[in-house]
Structures are given as C-alpha cells and as structure tokens.
Symmetry: C2
Subunit: 198 residues, 2 copies
C-alpha cells in the first residue's frame, strides 16, 4: 500500500456499512475463482469497493479472512459445554456443543462450502485448519475439566467430538443436496459409539 | 557449509558406522540442551563427529531428524491393520496397530520422551506433529477401507485410534516411572468406549 493511498484513505475514514462482510464475501469469491495464492489483498479490497487500509482494519492478512471465525466458534463450544445441565455426561455435553456448531455451519451453508473448497486446495491452509481443530479440542477438554470431568475422559470426549465434527462436516460438504448437518452429527456420535464397542 | 568443507568431505566419503543414529542422538541432545531453534546443523554434525555433508546425506534439515520416523510408523500401522485376521472389527484392527506403535515408543523410551519435550517447546514443531498425526489417521482409514470397511466407520475408527495414541502418549510421557504404554492404550480404548456410551 502506497503512502499516497494511506493518506487518501486517512482522509476518508468514514464508516463503511458491513465492511467485514463485504471484504469476506469478496475474498471468498476471489479465492474460489482464482485460488487463494493468486489473490492479493489489493484485489479483495477493490472487489469489495473498499481500500486496503480498510481491509487491514478487519483482518491481519488474507489468511485471517478464512480463520477469524475460529475464536467465536471456540467460545460457543466452550459455553455450550459449560452451560450444560448438571448431570449431563461429558460426551452429551460435547455432542450438544458440536451440534450447535453444525447448526451455524448449516446456516452459512454457502460460505461453509466455499471455505472448505479453498482450504482443501491449499496444503498450508489445511495445516492451519488442523491446528485450529486441535485448539478447539483442547478448549473443549478444558471446559469439561471445569465441570469436574477428569482426564483422560475430558480429553477423549473432546477428541471424539472433533472427530465427529470433522468427518460429518467433510461428508456434508461433499453432498450437494439439503442434507441436515446437525442430524448427521448425531448419527456420527451413534456410529462412533457402535465403532468403539467393536 | 563452506566450499572447502565440501571438498574436504568429498575426499573422505568413507562409510561412517551408524551415522544416522549418531546424528540423531547428537541432534536430540542439543535440542534438549539448547533448544531446537538455537541448534545448527554444523553443531549437530560436530557433536556427532561427522561432517555437515554427512548430515545432509541422511536428513534434509534439522527438523527431519524429529520426523523421519513417521514414514515407517505409518507403514507399521497400515500393515498391522491390513494383516489383521478376517472378521477383526475395525476398532480392534486399529487398536492392534496403535499398540504396536506403543510398544515401539516404549522400546525407545528415552528418545520418545526427549523428542516430545523438544516438540512441546516449539509451536512450529507442534504443528508439524499434528499434520503427521492427521496423515496417520488418513492412512489407517484407507487401510480399513482396503479391508472393505465403509465410511464413516473407517474414518471414525482411525480418528479414535489417533485420539487414544495422542492422549495415552501424552500421559505416559508425563509419568516418570516405568508405566506400560501399550497397556495404557488398551485402557484408553476401554475408556473411550465408556465415554462414547455416555
């Protein structure tokens, strides 16, 4: 970004309605059309009708457009586990959390699928996604420990939840019809129960 | 590595007994003493009484010293699953594979623990480890599909196995005594069965 551009933008730092959403949509469109690697922040800003400076007010880089939601997702998972009624088993608390995530992914179906396609096409992004999933598992295990669940139960229940999330989501993304993700997740938890029973 | 060193080494390209093992031991000692980041290939080679050129005959970089075993570990896991007697349930085939891995880690107890300490201390190495574990899960799922197991059962069984591997290994590493890792893994599979049953 040139000094001139910074000065210009500083002069018009007016509020832009839904700048984050517009930047995210523009980025996702470009990532799908051209590929993540080939897209620049300048192009994203231009497509959204905004400046690069505005982009950097919302995202630290073009990768963060894909991952900024992880923090709020983690909060939702942790809160769902923490707020589960007393006496809820660890796996039931985790399943409730994972299904809430499934409902959110389903509501943003188009975005979820575009995002997945972009990530699958790029090894570095796939690595970042794995790291985020591991962080979600660790956060859920910690939330369970906060309910008095001991290890290895807390860790096993959290890892089981992430396995179900990952596998159900991958299947759901691959299906073009109106498949229900939370229901698919419930089925996967049952399936996991049968699988581990041998 | 200087040109002079390359020339010198080219002149003495004699066979070095157990060069890989000596380099690995030297690297692990230095990673534990000084930290992974602070250790150079030159220092590893020098500690092992070998040249940098010899180092690069065995390892592409200093990170590979920690991860070169993943390929043979994957082969062992896949072969154990493939060779399981007909009628073995998916989770039993996976458990057999994970316990073979556990036996190997236990035989190399000192190395296993040093390696884990080095990886835990470095975020980039932790990421690499997650990626290797995901690759192991994918390979085990593929081996199960090769036995006619359908998805999501194949993927769920494989992910369950990796969860048990990771959690059991972390617990085992944290314990100083002579705890039995394969037995701990068997207990974790039972625990996972109880956890998923709710």
């Amino acid at each position: 970004m040139s000094v001139a551009a910074i000065k210009y933008d500083a002069g018009v730092s007016r509020w832009e309605p839904n700048a984050r959403g517009r930047l995210e949509q523009a980025a996702m469109d470009l990532y799908v059309e051209r590929g993540f690697e080939q897209t620049t922040v300048a192009e994203i800003a231009s497509r959204a009708g905004l400046t690069e400076r505005t982009f950097f007010r919302y995202f630290s880089d073009k990768r963060e457009v894909l991952f900024w939601g992880a923090a709020s997702l983690q909060e939702i998972l942790v809160n769902t586990i923490t707020d589960a009624p007393g006496g809820t088993s660890p796996i039931a608390a985790v399943a409730a959390a994972i299904e809430v995530a499934g409902t959110l992914f389903q509501e943003g179906r188009e975005r979820s699928r575009a995002r997945q396609a972009v990530i699958e096409a790029n090894p570095e992004l796939k690595e970042r996604e794995l790291i985020k999933l591991a962080a979600l598992a660790a956060a859920m295990a910690e939330a369970l420990r906060g309910r008095g669940v001991r290890d290895p139960v807390a860790s096993l229940a959290a890892e089981a939840g992430i396995a179900v999330l990952k596998i159900s989501f991958d299947e759901w993304v691959a299906i073009l019809g109106d498949d229900d993700l939370p229901q698919r997740m419930r089925a996967a938890f049952s399936e996991l129960r049968a699988v581990t029973a041998g």
